[in-house]
């Protein structure tokens, strides 16, 4: 097990280099002047372009430039992001926790309701419960995320005023940037509790509701389907029949026997969805003005902020490898037949 984890972590640098080198090659399609101009704000300094180019060695061979970037990355310096107006590393540290928070809450909702609805839909196959769940999940599939997001915003912010956009309220902003608020983890949901600021916790959580629900719907629809078909398949297996023949209670047969097997594909799907959420909540973060990493990535891409793009992709690559590793470990907890070697 430990050897497996180490082996997989050794793979990490390879993936990181692969992803970033490809992107680096692409950025070379831009002329050195264009790349330099990103760092030149003032029109009067346009004459200084050559200076910037030579200072940063933008005319050097690709490999040399890439090597220089990599060396800095190893030192922890991801460069400066003009689009975020701060170092890339700082931007990630600031925006990533908010996105992880959103992704975790979303996945908790997706897995909990997806497994519950999917399983009961399978158990009550072709009865009204099943029909209802299938209708809801088809609806979830076909509703574009931005339409749902805007609808929710209109109703719950515009009409009812229950929730508001953004990451937190103005009062929370004052508290968390005050001197007495200590940052332990960067995750506001956790830090607020550690600081004993329960109102901040509630405020942050309430700002998570609308984006999380919006993100949920599509993933939820898929999750319900996977759980339903997986459960139907398991319920038809022979061990279920022999569990009944042993005189077990029906709920033992369904949840303990079939359920534990049916959940296995759900883990794969959930980890894929989770990793995708980490890199791809762009639309929702934009609609709800949520201060997450997706917005940072989009801004960087729009403004050809090369350091920002590279840093963002590097982060996604790392999350991808680590996320997959975690899901592999989770697997072994559920399925004894899987041994990580």
């Amino acid at each position: 097990m430990l050897r497996y984890i180490i082996r997989r972590l050794l793979l990490l640098p390879l993936v990181m280099v692969g992803v970033t080198f490809l992107l680096f090659l692409l950025t070379q399609r831009l002329s050195p002047e264009m790349r330099a101009s990103l760092y030149v704000r003032d029109a009067r300094q346009m004459g200084a372009l050559e200076e910037v180019i030579s200072q940063y060695g933008l005319r050097d061979p690709v490999l040399k430039q890439y090597g220089r970037w990599m060396k800095n990355v190893i030192k922890g310096d991801l460069g400066y992001s003009p689009s975020a107006n701060m170092p890339v590393a700082k931007a990630i540290k600031e925006y990533l926790p908010a996105t992880i928070q959103l992704a975790v809450v979303t996945m908790l909702l997706v897995v909990f309701f997806g497994v519950w609805f999917g399983a009961s839909s399978a158990v009550h196959k072709d009865k009204w419960q099943d029909t209802l769940v299938r209708l809801v999940s088809v609806g979830g599939f076909s509703l574009p995320i931005f339409v749902l997001g805007l609808l929710l915003l209109m109703v719950f912010y515009g009409k009812l005023g229950w929730f508001s956009p953004g990451g937190y309220s103005f009062q929370t902003d004052l508290i968390i940037h005050g001197v007495s608020f200590k940052t332990y983890t960067g995750f506001l949901l956790i830090d607020s509790l550690l600081n004993g600021q329960f109102r901040v916790f509630v405020d942050v959580l309430s700002h998570l509701v609308l984006p999380a629900v919006t993100l949920c719907i599509g993933s939820f629809a898929l999750m319900v389907r996977v759980m339903r078909s997986s459960m139907l398949e398991e319920l038809n297996k022979e061990y279920v029949r022999s569990a009944r023949a042993k005189g077990l209670y029906e709920r033992q047969v369904i949840y303990k026997h079939a359920g534990k097997n049916a959940i296995i594909p759900v883990i794969t799907l959930a980890s894929i969805q989770f990793i995708r959420l980490l890199g791809g909540t762009v639309i929702v973060e934009t609609i709800f003005d949520y201060p997450g990493i997706g917005r940072f990535g989009v801004l960087a891409a729009q403004q050809l902020d090369i350091a920002g793009i590279l840093g963002f992709s590097l982060m996604v690559a790392v999350l991808f490898v680590v996320g997959n590793l975690l899901s592999d470990i989770l697997y072994t907890a559920v399925d004894p037949r899987i041994r990580l070697e």
Partner: protein, 327 residues
């Protein structure tokens, strides 16, 4: 003096619903099983052996319907029981083991968990006590090192070992009846013999009645007191084992025995019964075996013979029609 039977099956009919059409696969089966006796149910693939066994405990797949009949266990009709009554009988009074032992165990639960939950579904005992009993049971069915094996998963067991576990589970509550559906078919020959030996020993020790389902007449001969021959969902012949193997009455049974003997004599040429078993769903008006029967007459393909009693035997064949009958 006749003992009252522990299980009585009366005119059991089972059909599958397919595209708004009922396909009768068990066409009225009746027999009774006495305490401590072994009844072999023999038949070719598709003759309805498994469906009949599942029907006894209402374990049929959703597409199947029990369209008639009764299954009386100690006088109680199992087909009219509530779900909870049925649950209390399953596993505790009537246990069942299946053809594919590896698929019959849950892959993600340990063997111990599966044994313990069986015990605890029927008896209020602590986990520790159940675990102790489980170890005893594994030991009893000949699994070496039972304390250690208890925490292992089914995939760590061979097919034969899985079937031993299934037997341990079936015997856990000392049932009155054990239904064994081709318990050795999926195993290789040496293991088959061991499992059969084990079943026979335990049957005698516990005094259980056994319904032993098989397509292999040799196995039936090795274990059974009575034999019931099933063909196309109908009982063709039922007789005490010694009678059936020495004086088979039905041409189908004779054919089956003929092919069996020739195999044991290792002849080159294997005289199988010509033709194929009936395609279920198109029940012929007459005897289902008539198309393959060398002695069939006009009457055989037109009218289904009833079961004629001949001493302690029953046979469904016009050739055995008692003389002087009004038919």
């Amino acid at each position: 003096m006749s003992v009252s039977p522990i299980l009585e099956v009366r005119n059991l009919q089972i059909s599958f619903v397919e595209q708004n059409r009922n396909r009768l696969v068990l066409r009225g089966l009746s027999y009774s099983l006495e305490k401590g006796r072994v009844l072999a149910v023999v038949g070719e693939s598709g003759s309805g052996k498994t469906v009949h066994a599942l029907g006894l405990l209402s374990l049929l797949p959703a597409a199947a319907r029990i369209s008639g009949g009764e299954v009386r266990y100690k006088g109680q009709n199992l087909l009219a029981c509530s779900a909870e009554q049925l649950r209390q009988i399953r596993g505790a009074k009537i246990a069942m083991i299946f053809q594919d032992p590896s698929a019959s165990l849950n892959p993600v639960l340990t063997v111990g968990q599966q044994l313990i939950e069986t015990l605890r579904a029927h008896e209020s005992i602590s986990k520790e006590e159940a675990a102790r009993k489980a170890i005893e049971l594994l030991d009893k069915v000949g699994i070496p090192n039972p304390e250690k094996r208890l925490d292992e998963y089914p995939f760590q067991f061979s097919g034969g070992m899985c079937q031993r576990v299934m037997i341990a589970m079936a015997l856990a509550l000392k049932p009155d009846i054990l239904i064994a559906d081709e318990p050795t078919t999926a195993l290789d020959v040496t293991i088959q013999a061991q499992i059969l030996r084990l079943m026979k020993d335990l049957q005698q020790e516990y005094g259980m009645a056994v319904i032993f389902i098989t397509h292999n007449l040799a196995l039936a001969a090795a274990i059974a007191d009575d034999v019931l021959v099933l063909y196309g969902g109908l009982c063709m012949e039922q007789a005490p084992a010694e009678k059936l193997f020495t004086h088979p009455l039905h041409p189908y049974t004779q054919g089956l025995l003929g092919s069996l003997v020739s195999v044991s004599r290792k002849t080159e040429h294997l005289p199988a019964i010509p033709g194929n078993p009936p395609i279920a769903g198109e029940p012929l008006p007459g005897c289902p075996f008539a198309p393959r029967c060398s002695q069939a007459t006009e009457k055989c393909s037109q009218k289904l013979p009833p079961l004629f009693a001949k001493g302690s035997c029953y046979v469904r064949c016009w050739l055995e029609e008692p003389h002087g009958s009004t038919h």
